[in-house]
Symmetry: C2
Subunit: 111 residues, 2 copies
């Protein structure tokens, strides 16, 4: 997958409030699906949580490990760093000299 599609999928992932909450909950700790349902205060049902976890897994944003009947998830923080880095890289001037003023406009400075 190319860089652009990578960060678009990343955007879709963090662009939903429930998924954002799940990602924050999975930061630096392993949680089972039911743990997550409990963490979310029963406001989201188990199938919904499973659905979001599948999305996150397919986006490479979580690690999964099966232990007995439980499936534990944790955030792939490295992937988050990579995605953010790609975004910033593609949306910033490569060098200071890349700032392009538009001739046809009197005085327009890039903020």
């Amino acid at each position: 997958m190319d860089e652009k599609q990578l960060y678009i999928n990343f955007g879709k992932a963090i662009g939903d409030e429930t998924r954002a909450t799940i990602m924050e909950s999975l930061c630096c700790v392993w949680l089972s699906v039911n743990d997550l349902v409990e963490t979310l205060g029963e406001s989201v049902k188990q199938p919904t949580v499973s659905h979001h976890l599948k999305v996150l897994e397919e986006a490479g944003l979580v690690y999964v490990q099966q232990v007995g009947r439980n499936r534990y998830y944790t955030l792939n923080r490295r992937a988050v760093q990579v995605c953010c880095n790609v975004v910033v890289t593609r949306l910033q001037a490569l060098t200071e000299g890349d700032v392009i003023p538009l001739d046809s406009i009197p005085v327009l400075d890039i903020p």
Copy 2:
């Protein structure tokens, strides 16, 4: 707006391919709406571009400047940096001690 809502809106913004393309096109240059339509290769009509620009403007991700009949937009690269920084901050271990070694998965300390 709180940090979480900020980066959720940021995710929604970059989570759409057309908007992502627009943001990349607006990086480091001022473009009018018609310039953008042309840049996008006529694959997207003007009302659609205006719609996306409105979304980006409300998310604080673009600067706008009116010159005569034209409305020029450019990417607010500082805002992009801030959003990415917020995401990384909220999705990373606060201290090194919180880091879970991803390689040594066998041992799971689940409450």
